[in-house]
Structures are given as C-alpha cells and as structure tokens.
Symmetry: C2
Subunit: 433 residues, 2 copies
Amino acid sequence: MSNEVEALKAQLAAIKGTPGAISPLAPTSYQTLDPVPGVTLAAGAAGVKYAGRNDVMLARVAPGASIAGVFTRSATRSAPVRWCEGALAECVGHGDGQPLVILVNSGNSNAFTGRAGDESTEALANAAAKALGTNPKRVFPASTGVIGERLPHERIVAVIDGLAASLNETAWPEAAGAIMTTDTFPKLAGARTRIDGVPVTISGFTKGSGMIAPDMATMLGYVFTDAAIAPDVLQALLNETNARSFNAITVDGDTSTSDTVLLAATGKADHALVTDAADPRIADFRAALGGVMQDLAHQIVRDGEGASKFIRIDISGAEDDRAARVIAMAIANSPLVKTAFAGEDPNWGRIVMAVGKSGEAADRDKMTIRFGDILVAEQGWVAEAYREDDGAAYMKQPELSVAVDVGIGSGASTVWTCDLTYAYVRINADYRS
Amino acid sequence: MSNEVEALKAQLAAIKGTPGAISPLAPTSYQTLDPVPGVTLAAGAAGVKYAGRNDVMLARVAPGASIAGVFTRSATRSAPVRWCEGALAECVGHGDGQPLVILVNSGNSNAFTGRAGDESTEALANAAAKALGTNPKRVFPASTGVIGERLPHERIVAVIDGLAASLNETAWPEAAGAIMTTDTFPKLAGARTRIDGVPVTISGFTKGSGMIAPDMATMLGYVFTDAAIAPDVLQALLNETNARSFNAITVDGDTSTSDTVLLAATGKADHALVTDAADPRIADFRAALGGVMQDLAHQIVRDGEGASKFIRIDISGAEDDRAARVIAMAIANSPLVKTAFAGEDPNWGRIVMAVGKSGEAADRDKMTIRFGDILVAEQGWVAEAYREDDGAAYMKQPELSVAVDVGIGSGASTVWTCDLTYAYVRINADYRS
C-alpha cells in the first residue's frame, strides 16, 4: 500500500516539477566575474514583495562613461522604461562629469500603474541621485515583477543610503541575485579581451525566465566594460550583439513591459577612444561582447519556466535573413512543437506545420529537416534512411538542435528556445488546488 | 492509507484530465440536422489508422450545384488541399451536369508525403469518380490526422463502393463522427431560413480540436444548402462568414496543413437563382449561414485540446479593424494569458502585456479592461472600484468574456479561444512515462 502512495507521489512530482528547484538546464558552475574599473555595485533587501532575500540592486558608473541601451517596444511599457528612454537620450553626449546610476528592484514591475507609476520612478531617481551626487536624469531605474500594483517605492528609498555606503567592485553575484523574479539561478557572464593591445574587461548579468520573447522579454540585462568607446559606437555594438542574443531567444512568445538592456563603458582602460564602429581595433572586443551577450541570453532560456530542453533552431535556405527569422520564431513559439519536445517525441510533422504557418516562402519538395546530425526529412517527405528510433533516442538529450533548410534562397537565422511542459502550466496557472 | 491513495489519484486526475473524456465545454445536446435536397452522405470504417470506428465520409451533391471553398494558406499544405484548389477553380462555371463528391478520411493527413501523397490523392479521386459516375476533377478529397506518413489509400478505395451504395439524406451524425481525430464530440449545426419566401435549409458539420488557428486550423468544415446561388456569390458569402467564424478562433496559434471549408448549394429550392451578393433577398440567408458557421467554429473551440474555459475576446478602440484583430489574437494566443485563465486567476496585467506586445497602437492611459461586466482597469491603472475577489469569482465560470478598449480609434474585432491547461500538455506531449 505505501508503495502505491510513493508511486503516485513520484508521478505527481514528475508532472508538476518541484517548485523552487533549480532548472535542470542551469550551468553547473557560475563564472567569477572580474571587477570593471569604474563600476561598483551593492545589493540589499527592501521587502518590496519578497521576504528574506535581496530585492534591490544599485550600481554606480564613474563620471566620463558612455552608456547605450535597448528597451522593449511594447506599447504598454512600464514607467521606468519610459524614464530610461528619456535619460538615455539626454546622456548621449553629456559632458557634465557626473556619475551614472542604475537602480533595480524585483517583485513589482511598476508597469500599468498610471500616474502613480511615474511618481514612483521619479522619487527613486531623485533619491538615488541625491545619495550618489548626480543628476536624477543620470539615474536608470528598472522594476521587474508583478504588473499593475503600486510600487512601494518608499521601501526602496529607505535602503538607498545603506546601499550607497556598501558599493564595491565585486558584488556581481549579489547584484545578479537581487534582480531575480521567477529565475531559479543568478545569471552572470564575463570575458577578458584587448583593444589595441590593452587588456579590457567585460562583466555582466541578466534576469529572465518567463514572458520571454523578442522584442524582448521580461528580462533585464546589465553589461559593463572599462573600454573607452564613444556613445554612438557603443550603441551600435549593443544593437548588433543584441540582435543575435536577447532578441534571438523566446520562452513563450510573450513580450514584457519592462525589458531593458544597458551597456556601460567606463573608459578607464588605457587605449585611445574608439569613435568608429568599423575600427579594426575592436574586432576582438566585438566578438567578446557578442559572446557575453549570447551567454547571458542562453542562460535565460536555460531558466525558461518549466524548461527541460534547451533547443537551438537554425533556418537556412530562406528568401532572406528576415524570412529565416520569422520561420525560426514560428517553430520556436509553436505550442505543438514545444510540447512534442517536452514529450521527447521526434514529431517532425509539427516542424513542417510550423514552417508552413510562418507565412514565409518554403519549397515543400526541397525542404530538409535535421535533428542534430540526423537527416529526418528531404524532398518533401521523410528521409529514406531515417529511423524513428534514432529520432526518439536523440530527443532524450537535454540539449537539442533542429535545422531546417526551406529550399528557397540563402537567408539564415538562429534562435534558441525551450520546451513547454506541465511545469510551465503549473508555474503560470497558479492552480488553486 | 487508502484515503491517501484516493486523494493522490484524484489530484492526478484533476491535473491530467481524463483521456478520452468528452470536453466539459461540449454542448449538452446535439442538433438534429434537416436533410438538404440534393445531398446524400455515408460513413464507414476503412481502418486507415483507427480501429473500431468510422474513419471515412463520402458525400454526393447532385448535378447543377454551386460550390465554394476556403483553404489553409500554409506553405506546406497537403496533397488533397492542393487537389481541391485545382478542382474548385475548374468547377466554378462548369456546366457538365455531373455530381460533386466529397471524400474525407481521418487518421492520416496525407501531408508532407512527397510524390506518394499526390498519387494517393489522385487514386482516391479516380475511385470516387468511378463509383459515383463523375469526373475525378469534381471530387474534393480531404485527409486529417498524422503528418508525414504514407496514406494507405487502398484501404479507402476498398470501401468506396459500399459507401456509395449506402448514401442517404440523414447520415449527418455519422458523417460528423467519421471525420473526427482528437475531437471528443461530433460537431453539427444547421438552420432553416427563407429566400424570397421559399424555405431553405442549411446543414453542416466540422471537426477540429488542436492545431487550431487562423488561417485556419486542423479543421475541416462542410456546409450544404438547397439554396440556388451562383458560384461567385456563394464564394463571397463563404469568405465573409468564414472571416467571422473559422478565421476568428484559435486554440493554440498553430495552423494546419489541411484546413478546408467547403460550402455547396444544390439549387433544389424553388426560388430564382441569386446572382448578386448584394441581393436583399438573401439577407436572412446570410445571417443564418453566418450563425451556422459561427456555431460550428465555436464547437471547435469548445473541444480545444484540454480546454476548460470558453473565452470571448472583444477589442474596441483600435486604429482599425485589422489592428483590433491583431490585438485580439495576441491576447488569445498568449501562453501567459491562457494559463492564467486555466488557473482561474484574474491576472489582468497579462492582458496589458499582450496588448503591448501586439505591435499595434494602444494608449496606456485611455485603455479599459473588462471581465464580463466588471470594470477591471481604466486610465492606465486598476479601476478604483475593482475588487480582486470579484475578478476571482468571475473566473470560476466556464464561459468568460474579456473586453479591451485600447483608446485609439474605432477599430473592433472579436475572437474566441480557450485556456491552456495541463491536459493540453498531456495530449500533445505524449509523455512516455
């Protein structure tokens, strides 16, 4: 009898997942990030919503830095996103020698909170500016968490002086932890590279788990470097690396009201200022930055709500790169494709369906589909050598690759996604049983 | 101890749903359809894939009829869809006095089956044409079920003569049952109306449950009338009623490779031929046809895989009707919105998110959101009189309505959808535990 109870309990646990458990796709070790000269951080607990954990992160970037940003394009974006858009526009080219400040809370997104939301954002910017001796328009606030509830900003204001006093160069893990919401692990990535032979550091962190889709996700990302790069070049580098990282991932196709990625360059590294995005001196830096951005973006997918599979989707042979991206996203966001992956079912017919529904050109009779190295379909039908057992065995791996050539042109695109499991439904349906 | 076992079993059943059970949203009684003069039907078992049930439907429409059709726009549409597109183009205006034939199998969609797929379709059209004394190009085949497996058409060919011998005017329930795949109930709807004072009948049936999205769904729909309507007018009527029925529903945002809706008018009713879509004589007929089409479409949503809620989404105040439809579909297809409904969670913040991600214009500060008659949000924030308890109580009903005015213009659109439950994942993930 007790065996039956154990068996039923195990079945329930297998279906629901374990609330609070770390994602099975999490990295097995965390990277230790290098300090970035000119950048200090602190984290603390303001009790915005969560108890017993840090929920506020403060970062200070020394005067003279460049900053670049990309934001959600949601028509209902949050008050702090709107503030940041304005602050960024003012910052570019500013020469007032004041520090930049980033202030982030988790637990409440201050989105769709009407005029009160704008007031909260302004109060936070004012308090942070006062504590760190800068102009409120040099403060970049962000809030992430529940939508539509008033942000109790006074709780955050109350801890700002303490955070300012504890700013230091090494609080990367604490900063990454404080901005987590439904994340099951903190997400950090960094790199060392050179510009003109001078060593340069890149360190960054991000958060995100659900409501993840371009453009962009309920995600926040902060990347810092001591490179000396003019603001317009920095923005160009952010745009191009963002397109292949945070804008090439999807968990559920849902776009948040809060997405923000900031890239700050302190200019403390001892090389001549980079003023041209085509400058050959930044080839290595560009690659390293792209690597850090992609690493952070992949960690978000690996922490996708309920995810049990990390899936790379490569489209080739499309009309152009844009068409390839549309097809890739049609596959990545298809509930039928995502549930098939969850069930370890090599259901390539659903890939065909998703290509077809994308609205982009595809030649049914020239299409090929591969799972990893396995040729599954070609010339409009299942490949002669394909064995369902091979596909089923492949699907048991936690990291999967799907490649589709649609047989039209030379457009290509790569996106990353995860599967759709019972646990996704549990996490988001908040079943009241 | 046995109490614990019972409790755990009940918990498991609540999560997974009961495989094979009829949808809780199914109609409580089935409509008895009237015969349509000139139309005869038969159903039988060919053993294409399913055992112990009917899986083939044959319909004959007497010579002299008009026919109209709409099909999936998938780039990877199936062999029978391509055949039907060609047959329809030839039929319009044909005067060869031959009957029309519809032949449908379930269990195998004959999609992405390469040249073999075209050969199967042709073999079926030839066999049906021979049995019923018509041209193969007057045969409209359809196949629904698994993608990418060769259709064993010879099993269907073997039963065609028997089906032809048993054609009759009343086999509507059998016809609707034979074309079901993951459907949990047969879907029928009909109406009686008048043209020019002459009684006219409309009788139709449909199938569909998953892979349901415009344009259009893994759905097949067949509607018959004895009205006398010219082919171009019939096509216009089908297009306009389809836009507000089968093209206004979504279960999972996935579009199938097989979607087909045919509308046949036998012309047996004793009124003068309708040759103008603006003819005032067809006002009642147009409304009745629209009602039948919408009833059938709603039945598909009510049988959405794993559905526990039937949800109507009304958008108003959009830039134009097209924008309103995009916003409505963004809400209807959002996994976060759909899981919130599954959890009976009045999470209006996710509605805000979905409006924002649609890419269409919305004025955050003029937006209103209603759940049924409850005003939830206005002027960019939660409504003053709104109580979370009222929203939670409303969500417990099986039929829900969400209305959003986005505060920009006068565009409006209505779509219907269902929630996203554990059972959807069970049905589609084919968990191998």
